[in-house]
Amino acid sequence: MVKKLDDTVVISSIRISKEMSKKLELIAKRQGISKTELIRRALESYLPQFIELRPNSAEEVLNKVKLRTGFIPKIKKSIKSIYQEIYETENL
């Protein structure tokens, strides 16, 4: 019987070494799953680290910026005085 594939499923073929294939076969056998299922599970646990999801809250956004910079710096010059510089001194 030919199983009809869901349209969200695609077939990918990959080249791997004989050694890796043997390892896959062994682990799949031990876990009682197919090699395909084992590869799928391995990818599912490996890929999320590369997928950055959009933050859901303002706090998450600030945490991301903090993480990228290492810290959130303190204000050394007041915003009001910067606006004054821009409008009065620099005349922008």
Binding site: A58, K64, K74, I79, Y83, E88, L92
Partner: protein, 147 residues
């Protein structure tokens, strides 16, 4: 509700010591949860935000990361320097006695049929707001958060 964000809103958001930080955080939360249905900011204002944050913190890396965050983390539409935007901004600057960047906020609001959201922190500008032509201006300090 549709808003065009002025530089001061995002400066306030990214600087926890700023006077309007909590208000700006609420606005960002409402944007992220779609309570504010549309928010935009012009590229001119994004640049202004970057240099103000760098001047305030003396930290170029932090300013860069804040600009990156607006572009990639937030669901804010970044308005390009299109012909329509440039001609609107030129006209608004010609008739309004406020800074080029503040006029860029108005141009973004005008193009997207939004309200321009400013902070009263800009007192110098605030004194002149009565004579401003263009889209409706609202202030974050008076903002109705019960949308």
């Amino acid at each position: 509700m549709k808003v065009a964000l002025d530089t001061s809103i995002l400066v306030g958001f990214f600087l926890p010591d700023d006077l309007i930080h909590q208000l700006a955080k609420t606005v960002i939360n409402q944007i992220l949860s779609n309570k504010i249905e549309y928010a935009c900011m012009s590229k001119i204002n994004l640049i202004e935000m970057g240099y103000i944050i760098e001047r305030a913190t003396e930290n170029q890396d932090y300013a860069y990361n804040c600009m990156f965050s607006v572009q990639h983390d937030l669901t804010i539409d970044i308005i390009d320097l299109t012909w329509d935007f440039m001609t609107s901004l030129a006209h608004l600057k010609a008739v309004n006695p406020i800074s080029f960047c503040d006029n860029a906020t108005l141009a973004a609001a005008h193009l997207t049929r939004s309200q321009a959201l400013f902070s009263r922190e800009k007192e110098i500008v605030n004194r002149r707001f009565k004579r401003i032509k263009g889209p409706e201006i609202i202030f974050i300090e008076d903002f109705n958060f019960n949308l």
